[in-house]
Symmetry: C2
Subunit: 118 residues, 2 copies
Amino acid sequence: MRDLPVSPSPACCVPGAPVLDVAVAESLAAGFKALADPTRIAIVNRLAALGEVCVCDITDAFNLGQPTISHHLKVLRDAGLVSAEKRGKWAYYRIVPGELERLGGALRPDGLPVAVAV
Amino acid sequence: MRDLPVSPSPACCVPGAPVLDVAVAESLAAGFKALADPTRIAIVNRLAALGEVCVCDITDAFNLGQPTISHHLKVLRDAGLVSAEKRGKWAYYRIVPGELERLGGALRPDGLPVAVAV
DNA sequence: GTGTTATATTGATGTCTGTCGATGCGTGAC
DNA sequence: GTCACGCATCGACAGACATCAATATAACAC
């Protein structure tokens, strides 16, 4: 018996996929919900492209108020897709490795091998 | 000059990705929004696993009212992720080939080659 | 024709979400 | 200490969303 009650996210939506556990469906839906906003997609795009970005740069890059950007960053943080680190007055965000690949792998047949608990 | 004003969806969220066009970000966000619900994830999972499914079977499989299932199917249809075909009294749904892979490819470095307009 | 069955659509309702202004909190400069 | 700056949080509000009951539509059986 492993201590993983839920298989992380097997390829859910490819031919021959097994019927999904409810918890897995909810986990995937939560991840996609975090990406279901153009501003958040653009933020993730910048983080992925540049590696590490200061919040001030993100705020400058969008035509939105600072609280709104902060809100979007919190959504991405709560979804586990990005992480923050404070250095001095500034906060730097970066992509959490593996999480985006996990979501993407659920939609593609050529997914990474996924550890499944038994 | 090609007649594709917007590159479909290059790998937006992988290291070294280019800054995303606004229209591409909106297109990706719309796709992920369609998947941002556990019921719709489960529906897509069933369609992907079984190939073609009658609405009646989907309705039976979930603890939700028939209008609610019909609503979710419309969301997936409007997002271009599934297609419907009526045969007699029944409607059969199936996955639209390539669309899920397009979304998944935006999140993974090992994506399919994507045609980019220039 | 009538009646039944399978989906879609409409309308209502409660909940969630994106945005903003105002405020709080921690850091560095002075 | 005070002040400015970067960011998070709070409160409010308009719009979107998930769900349901009721109704409409379309096809088959009779």
